[in-house]
Every structure is written in C-alpha cells, then in structure tokens.
C-alpha cells in the first residue's frame, strides 16, 4: 500500500505558487511552464488556486517583511505531506537584494525548504528539472547490487557548529512524515 501511496504522490504533484516579493522574472518563468513549449501538465502538475489543495509550494522572491507572515500562514494552511521549492537566487539567499532594509533574504528563514533552484531567473527547463528531481527523490529507484552509494561526509569531520544539511537528509525527514 505504501508503494501505491508514493506512486500517486509522485505522479500527481499539485503546486501552489507564492510570490514573496519577487521582481516577476521567476514568476513568469513558472507560468511559462504551463505553456505549450514546456507543458508541465505531462507530469501531472496542476497549478492550484487554494493552499488547501496543493502539495508543493513554489516560492519566489526575497521575502519582504510584509510577506514573511503571509508566507508562514500559507505554508501552515497546506495539508501534509507538503514540500517547499525555493525558486531563484532571491528565494535561495536574497539575491541582489541581500542586506536591504525591508528584505529578510531567503525563504529558509521563514519555512523549511526541500529544494533550491538557483538562477536569475532559472530557465523553465531548470525549474522542471528541479521539480522532477524532487519527485524522484521521493521515489528512489531500487539500488542495483553493483552500484556503490556515495559516502556522506561524517559529522565528526566538520568543525563544530556546522551541520551538514544535504538534500538527502531533508528528503529522509519528509519521507518519515509521508509514512505516517
């Protein structure tokens, strides 16, 4: 039954797009995904209007002060299991607006992020690649016997205070929630 659940979740990710103070470049590229040249509906992705219906939150923008509270609220309204994708250099770290007076700088200062897609703006192919990689991470192919898993850096090797937060760790956490 778990396999069917994961299969359904991977084949039907509904997205909600939230602009937290962006210049529109990334937003236009996200809307361009629906158009004939890129056609994201092939993957079952639908752009939903209400937070209650969506699985994946696509966030663009450098998170201004006014939008921070709204972003948190929209994230809380989404039902589990949910994932957040930060699209664009501004959403990853603040971009060119880092240090400005109304800017928090980066979506991960407000909500936990599953995937970062850098670029200014990232091409629609890059956004699609990021979304597909996120989906494949949820449903990893069974490892062949010959393939050797790459070694993750051990925690003791890093200096104190630095936590290695790889995409794998985040995906493991989300999978725990998925199993509930």
């Amino acid at each position: 039954m778990t396999d069917t659940k994961t299969w359904a979740r991977v084949k039907s990710p509904w997205v909600l797009h939230f602009n937290s103070g962006a210049c529109n470049g990334c937003d236009i590229e996200i809307v361009a995904l629906l158009t004939p040249k890129y056609d994201v509906e092939r993957f079952g992705v639908k752009l939903e209007p209400s937070p209650r219906h969506a699985d994946v939150l696509l966030v663009t923008g450098c998170v201004t002060q006014q939008c921070a509270e709204r972003l948190k609220r929209v994230y809380d309204q989404m039902p589990q299991p949910k994932f957040v994708v930060a699209i664009g250099a501004c959403a990853c770290s603040g971009g060119v607006f880092e240090g400005n007076y109304n800017v928090l700088g980066g979506v991960d200062k407000v909500i936990p992020v599953t995937a970062f897609i850098p670029g200014c703006p990232p091409r629609p192919e890059a956004i699609l690649d990021g979304v597909v990689k996120l989906l494949n991470a949820l449903n990893p192919p069974k490892p062949k016997k010959q393939a050797k898993q790459p070694e993750l850096p051990k925690q003791e090797d890093k200096p104190e205070g630095v936590v290695v937060q790889t995409a794998q760790n985040v995906v493991e956490e989300e999978k725990q929630i998925v199993k509930q």
Binding site: C23, N24, V96, C120
Partner: protein, 525 residues
C-alpha cells in the same frame, strides 16, 4: 497635440517672476525654485495655463540639515521641476492634492520614506513600509543604515474595518491570489455585486532599491535597477544609464543607440504578448493564453540570441551596450519577426469576432478622457482613452527620432481598446526592429567611461511597455550616486484603476485590472 505651443516658463515668469527663481534649460525644460508654499501658486498657474499639466513624480531628498521636496511636472510640451526645501526639524509643506488628485500616492510615499509632513493630507499607518516598522525611522534619510533598524517585535495586527452598512461585504483580494501574480492587497467593498470602494495596500514587494543604489557603484547599480521588474528590465536599465550619461555629458555612439532600440523593442514585444495572454487567463479564456504565450517563446529565443539570457538581457551599460549583434544572427531575427507578423491577423480576428471575448471586454472599465487627463495616467491606458502621450514621440531618446513609427490611439477607453492598443503596438515594434536592423550604422558599440561621475543631477523619461518611466539621478562626484528616484508607470496608473472599478460588477474587476497591466514589483521597488 495642441497647435499653440505654450511657453510655460514665461507664463510662470509673468505671474510670479519676482517671487520665485527660474532657471530655464536646467533639468529638461527648466527648474523653478519656490519656497514658503509658493510651489502651490506655481502649480496652479501651470494647471490654469495648460490642461495637460500633471505631476510625474515627487522626489524627496536628504540634504543634511534640510529635506528637499522636488515636484516634477509635465505639461503638453514641457517638463519642469519645482524645487522646495524644508528644515529637517520641522518638515512641513503644504499639500497639492486639491490641485491635482493624481499626486496622492506620491505624497504618501515621500511622507512614509522620508518623514515629510504634508499639511492638508492626513496619513494613517504606513503606505509602503510594513506594519512592524518602527515609527520615526525614515529609511531614505542618510543617517539610517539598513542593518541597524530594529523592528517592532509584535506587529500591530491589521484591523479590518467593517463597513458601516450591513449590506456591504468587504472582500480582501490578495496578497496570495490566483489572479495576481504578485502580492498586493485590495480591500473591495461590494454592495451585492457592485463595487463601491477599493482600498489598496501596496508595499509587499518593497525591497528598498532606492536606498540600496546609494551604497553601490554606478555600474553595479545598472544590474540592481534592472531587477526592479523582470518584465520591463531593459527599459529600467536604459532609463538609468541615459540619466547618468546626461550628468556626465557622455555621447553614446550611433551604433549603440540603434542596438539599444532593438533591445528595448524586443522587450516591449515580449511584455505586450505576455499581457495579451494574461488577459485571456483572467477572463477564463485559457486557449487564448496558451496561444499567445506559445507565440511569445520565439521572442524569448531572440532575446537569448542577442544577449545570452532569456529574461535579463543586461545589454545596457554606461557608454553603450555590452554586446554587438552578429551579422549571422540577423536572418534568424528577421524570420522570427516575419512569422510573428503573420500570426497577428488571426488574433485581430479573434478580438473582432469572438462573441464571448467581446462580452467580457467591451464597455468594461471605461476611463473617460477627462479623467485620464486629471489623473495623469500613462502608457496604453492613456492611449486607449484618447490621450496621445508617448515619450518616444514627445521627447525622443536613443534613435527613436530617426525611426518612423505610428503612435497608436483608441478613443473608447474600455478594456477592449487598451488591449487593442497593445496588439497594434506589437506590429509597430516589429516595424521598428526591422528598420533598425536594416539601417544599423557601423562603428563602435561602446565607449569606456570613467568610474566616477561628476557632480550634478539629471532627469530622464523613457517609454516602458506600461507607460512613461521616470528617473532622477543626483551625483556628488564619487563613484556612487547620491540619490536615485524612480517613478514607474503602474504607480501612476493605480489611482485610475480605483476609479474605473467603482460602479461596476465585481466580476469585472480581474479583467479591468489586467487591462491596466499592473506590475507591482515596479510600483513598490
């Protein structure tokens, strides 16, 4: 266009010459220095003399001991700056919103960001800054550093004032709403289905760009200013760069001017196709949206061909353009434009004959010519209501004086007219690009300029896809600007939307709104 050209400076000189100081030829047509409330008299004289007078922008500056309040006024054939100063410890100045209602937003912004008190124009709460911003801290003042501002820990929760009459319902549109690509809040009060009041709250995309330009060099600022808006990015860069070139008295080579025109018109093409498609989405016409955006993709390919990036072409720089067009690329550009031109008759036919589209767009959101003049709207919104303003024709910049093209004006003033203005401008842009490519002068495409810009100030107006874009740059002789002021076209057009929405059905609000072509990242900067 009025046949009798009014010399506005001599009109002002004859009425108030002994009480104000006039500097003809400085900062475009001229500058008038008026203190002690005389700015009201000057403005009233200008409005009485010329009906097309309107406020383009109000710039607030910090001079240390005083605060400067500069009124940038446009008339039918002139552009005048009225300068006034107030002391910082008592920053009071009389308002002008009774003379010109279109100045409301400008005064609110200067009051919020610089702390000037406009007597006769009461303000409550913040206009652009967030609710948890501490009182008394004005970001554009020189002593405020961006990372030292301590925010109020618990923000005051915004009270939603319920309308007095119980029949009325208050609907909040935004900040997260499928119709708006960007976050803004509109509190719409409806009586049944008819809209009675619209209260906007902007500032959700305010990224403090004007303050940030003061701590970056001119060349870095080109990239920063470009990112005010992702859709009209080239024109922001062009407006800023031309302003700096005016201060430094740099003459750009002719080939660079033509290349700039090509980049700007490609930008205009993709922006108009975007709006035309987005309008389809708002009225439930998904098929039209898909078709328009499908035809927009070859233009994005052209932008990538000429500059290397799909959206941010970053071609403008101080002294010219950063790249040249290769001769091997020109056939591809011509073929793509020819294909796009061949598709336009189909879309024209849809707009002429499709009954469901006409039902949604004709006689919706009508803006009469008199209101358009009073609120000084710009761009396709103005040209759809019969007001022929186009900076490319009124005050040609770059190579526009040498390139023949038509100015598109429709008179009905409804949504349908505004969308048709944009569609015809698509064809005109194709004509301009083809002419520019055929007549491209040879020579350099860039000259190297010194890093520091000599002290001075300049104003510059360019025509963005959404309307007139205004830049004011003040330099103090170093390699970082002292003040950069941007007035974007949507900032000027939002009051018009508030007016056109009242009295119509709430179901028309999305279609009406998108015909305005709003760009809130431009508005908030």
């Amino acid at each position: 266009m009025s046949n009798n050209k009014i010399d506005i400076l001599s009109v002002v000189a004859s009425k108030l010459g002994n009480r104000v100081q006039i500097q003809p030829g400085y900062l475009s047509t001229g500058t008038i220095i008026a203190q002690n409330g005389l700015h009201r008299n000057v403005l009233k004289t200008m409005i009485d003399a010329d009906e097309k007078t309107g406020i383009t922008a109000i710039t607030g500056l910090d001079f240390g001991e005083n605060l400067g309040v500069y009124y940038h006024v446009h008339t039918s054939n002139a552009f005048v700056t009225i300068k006034a100063e107030v002391p910082k410890d008592n920053p009071k100045i009389q308002t002008i919103i009774d003379l010109h209602p279109g100045a409301v937003f400008h005064e609110l912004e200067v009051a919020d960001l610089l702390g000037v008190v406009f007597e006769g124009h009461p303000t409550s709460g913040h206009f652009v800054l967030s609710e948890n911003w501490p009182d008394g801290v004005y970001p554009l003042r020189k002593n405020v550093k961006a990372n030292e501002v301590k925010l109020v820990p618990t923000p005051k929760s915004e009270e939603i004032t319920l309308p007095e009459n119980e029949r009325l319902v208050k609907i909040i549109i935004g900040p997260q709403h499928p119709a708006l690509l960007e976050p803004e809040k509109f509190a719409v009060t409806v009586d049944g289905e008819i809209v009675t009041k619209v209260e906007p709250r902007i500032g959700y995309v305010h990224r403090g760009i004007e303050k940030a330009t003061e701590s970056r060099t001119y060349l870095q600022d080109v990239y920063l200013v470009e990112r005010i808006c992702g859709i009209c990015n080239s024109i922001h860069a062009a407006g800023f760069v031309e302003c700096v070139e005016k201060i430094a008295k740099i003459e750009v080579p002719p080939r660079a001017k033509y290349l700039r025109v090509i980049a700007l018109e490609l930008n205009r093409l993709h922006s108009h196709l975007l709006t035309l498609g987005h309008a389809g989405l708002e009225i439930g016409y998904e098929t039209l949206f898909q078709y328009f955006w499908r035809d927009r993709e070859p233009i994005m390919d052209l932008i990538e061909l000429t500059s290397g990036n799909r959206v941010y072409s970053s071609l403008m720089t101080i002294g010219g353009v950063r790249r040249d067009i290769k001769d091997t690329d020109i056939p591809k550009i011509k073929t793509t434009l020819k294909d796009l031109r061949g598709k336009l008759p189909f879309y024209r036919q849809v707009y002429e004959n499709e009954p469901s589209l006409k039902l949604r767009m004709k006689n919706v959101g009508v803006l009469k010519r008199a209101d358009a003049l009073k609120l000084s709207v710009v761009g396709p919104v103005a040209r759809g209501s019969g007001v022929d303003v186009d900076v490319r024709k009124d005050e040609p910049y770059e190579a526009y004086a040498e390139i023949p093209f038509k100015e598109i004006v429709y008179t009905t003033g409804d949504t349908w007219a505004r969308m048709n203005v944009r569609m015809d401008e698509v064809e005109e842009s194709i004509n301009i690009i083809e002419y520019a490519i055929d007549n491209l002068p040879s020579g350099q495409f860039r000259i190297i300029t010194p890093r520091s810009v000599p002290a001075g100030e300049a104003v510059n107006r360019v025509e963005a896809p959404r309307g007139e874009l205004f830049y004011y740059v003040r330099s103090n002789g170093t390699d970082m600007p002292d003040r950069v002021k941007v007035r974007t076209p949507t900032f000027a057009n939002i009051p018009a939307f508030l007016k056109t929405a009242i009295g119509e059905s709430i179901a028309d609000v999305p279609a009406n709104f998108v015909s305005l072509d709003p760009c809130f990242s431009c508005t908030d900067r």
